[in-house]
C-alpha cells in the first residue's frame, strides 16, 4: 500500500479542518463535541507515534518483573501480572512493581492526556 499521504498526515489534515473551519462555525453542544473531536485527533497522532515503542518497553519490563517467557504477548503478560497482584504475591512493597506501573501509566498518559496535572508532577520527580 502506498503511504502518501500517510495516516498521520491525513489525521493532521482532518484536525486542521476541525480546528480552523468547523469549530469556529459551531457553538453549544456541537462546539463542545468539535473540541472533543479535535482532542481525539491529537490522541490518535500521539498514539500512532508512541504505541510501538511503548509496547516494546512495557513488554520488556513485564518479562523482567515476572521472570516470564518473552514469547508471551503483552495481554498474556498483563494477565499474569494481574494474577500475581490479586493473589497478593506482588504488592505495593515491591519497588519493581511500582516502578513498572508508574512508567506504564506515564507512557499511557503522555498519549491520552499530556496536560493532566498528575503527569506534570510525575515527570518533575
Amino acid at each position: 500500500m502506498h503511504n502518501q499521504p500517510s495516516v498521520s498526515e491525513l489525521v493532521r489534515a482532518v484536525k486542521n479542518f476541525v480546528d480552523k473551519t468547523a469549530m469556529p462555525e459551531l457553538s453549544g453542544r456541537s462546539g463542545f463535541h468539535a473540541r472533543v473531536a479535535s482532542n481525539v485527533l491529537g490522541t490518535i497522532l500521539r498514539d500512532l507515534d508512541a504505541r510501538e515503542s511503548n509496547d516494546t518497553r512495557e513488554h520488556a519490563r513485564l518479562v523482567a518483573l515476572l521472570d516470564a517467557d518473552p514469547s508471551l504477548s503483552l495481554d498474556e503478560l498483563n494477565a499474569k501480572l494481574r494474577q500475581k497482584i490479586r493473589s497478593g504475591e506482588l504488592t505495593i512493597q515491591s519497588a519493581e512493581l511500582m516502578d513498572h506501573l508508574k512508567k506504564t501509566a506515564i507512557d499511557q498518559l503522555k498519549v491520552d492526556q499530556p496536560n493532566y496535572s498528575a503527569l506534570t508532577k510525575a515527570l518533575e520527580e
Binding site: V40, L81, T91, I92, Q93, A105, I106, N115, A118
Partner: protein, 348 residues
C-alpha cells in the same frame, strides 16, 4: 454491561409547541392562568437527566425557572444509583430546612401531567464551570471562603434525618462501593493492573466505619453553584445515599475534581483543613486530613471505572457520540493518580 449505562435522554420534543404548552399548563397551577412560558431551552450538562431553562412572563412568575426531568419512556437502568427526581426534590427541600444553600423547589411533576418525572426549581445565579471558578479573578474571594462554606454545607447535609426511609435511599458503605465498582471493572474485560492493585489495597486497608449519614454522593466543583461571595447552591442530588460522611469530603479532594490545580487538595481551590474545622464546628464529626485518604483513593478508582462505563456505552453501540469514546482515554488520568496515592502509602 448494558444495564449499567447512564440513560441518555434525547429530547424529541425539544422545540415543540406541545412541550412548551404542557409546561405552561402545569405552571399555571402555580402562577395563575395569565402565565406564559415564552421559551424552553435545553441546557448542556447533566448526563443522566435533562435540564431545561424556561423563560416566563405574565402571571405572578419569576422571569426564569429551571426544569429537571426524565421524560417518559426513557428506560431507567435498574442498577443505576440515581434516586429519581421526585426523591431528589424531597431531599433538596430537606436540605433547605437544614440551612444548606439550595435552589427553591417550585413544583414537582405528577403522573397526570404526562411530562415524566421531574420538578421545577428557581434559577440560582452563579457559575458551575470549575475552570472559571478556579481561574477568574471575580471568584478570588469566593475561593477563599469556599472551604469553610463547603464544610458547613456538608455538615448540614449529613445532619438530615433520612433513616426513617423517606425518601427510601440505598445504604452504600465504602466497601459496598468498592465491590460495586470492582464488579463493573471485571465485567468490562479490561486489563489495567493499577486498578487491581488499588482494589486489593483498598480492601485490605478499609477504615473502620463511622455512623452512617445522608451522603450527597457527587459533591464537587461542577455540581455546586458559586457566585462572587462563594457557595450559592448545592446541586445534583441524584446520587444521594446513606453512607460514610468521609465519602463526600474526599470526593471534592479527588484529583480528577481539582481540574488541573493538583496542589490544592480541596477541589483545586483550597486546603481541606478549614473545611474539616467548619464541618466539626457545625456539628459534624471531627476528622483529620489523613482520615479521608482512603476515600480519596476510592474516589479516583470510582471515577476511573465510571469513565470505563461511559466508554462501554460507545463500544456497545448504545451511544455513538465522540465524547463517550473519548472519555475512555481519561481512565489513564486516574491510573496516574492511583499510582501516586499508592506510592504515598507506608512501604517497608
Amino acid at each position: 454491561m448494558e444495564k449499567l449505562f447512564f440513560p441518555l435522554n434525547v429530547a424529541k420534543m425539544s422545540d415543540s409547541q406541545e412541550f412548551r404548552l404542557s409546561l405552561q399548563a402545569v405552571l399555571r397551577n402555580v402562577y395563575g392562568n395569565e402565565l406564559l412560558v415564552d421559551a424552553v431551552d435545553r441546557l448542556s450538562g447533566g448526563a443522566s437527566q435533562e435540564t431545561w431553562l424556561l423563560r416566563l412572563s405574565k402571571g405572578n412568575a419569576p422571569e426564569t425557572l429551571i426544569l429537571r426531568r426524565a421524560p417518559e419512556g426513557v428506560e431507567k437502568s435498574p442498577d443505576s444509583a440515581a434516586i429519581g427526581l421526585a426523591n431528589e426534590a424531597k431531599l433538596i427541600q430537606a436540605a433547605e430546612a437544614a440551612g444548606v444553600p439550595v435552589p427553591k423547589v417550585v413544583r414537582v411533576l405528577e403522573d397526570d401531567n404526562g411530562l415524566g418525572d421531574g420538578f421545577f426549581m428557581n434559577r440560582v445565579e452563579g457559575e458551575t464551570i470549575a475552570r472559571r471558578i478556579l481561574r477568574d479573578e471575580k471568584f478570588s474571594k469566593a475561593r477563599q471562603v469556599l472551604p469553610e462554606q463547603c464544610g458547613k454545607a456538608l455538615a448540614g447535609i449529613h445532619s438530615i434525618d433520612v433513616q426513617a426511609g423517606d425518601p427510601p435511599l440505598k445504604l452504600s458503605s465504602g466497601l459496598d462501593q468498592l465491590t460495586y465498582y470492582e464488579d463493573i471493572y471485571k465485567s468490562t474485560g479490561a486489563y489495567r493492573p493499577i486498578f487491581d492493585l488499588a482494589m486489593v489495597w483498598l480492601r485490605e486497608n478499609a477504615p473502620d466505619p463511622v455512623a452512617p449519614v445522608l451522603v450527597h454522593g457527587d459533591f464537587r466543583l461542577g455540581n455546586i453553584m458559586v457566585d462572587e461571595s462563594g457557595l450559592a447552591a448545592v446541586l445534583d442530588w441524584e446520587l444521594c445515599h446513606i453512607g460514610d460522611p468521609r465519602e463526600d469530603i474526599a470526593w471534592m479532594c479527588t484529583n480528577s475534581w481539582r481540574f488541573g490545580h493538583a496542589e490544592k487538595r480541596l477541589g483545586g481551590f483550597g486546603d481541606v483543613e478549614p473545611l474539616l474545622d467548619a464541618y466539626a464546628k457545625q456539628g459534624g464529626q471531627q476528622f483529620t486530613p489523613s482520615d479521608i485518604d482512603w476515600w480519596e483513593m476510592l474516589g479516583s478508582m470510582k471515577w476511573g471505572v465510571m469513565c470505563m462505563t461511559m466508554y462501554e456505552s460507545f463500544r456497545s453501540g448504545a451511544d455513538s457520540g465522540v465524547e463517550r469514546a473519548a472519555i475512555g482515554r481519561r481512565v489513564s488520568e486516574t491510573e496516574m493518580d492511583l499510582i501516586n496515592l499508592l506510592e504515598d502509602q507506608p512501604r517497608a
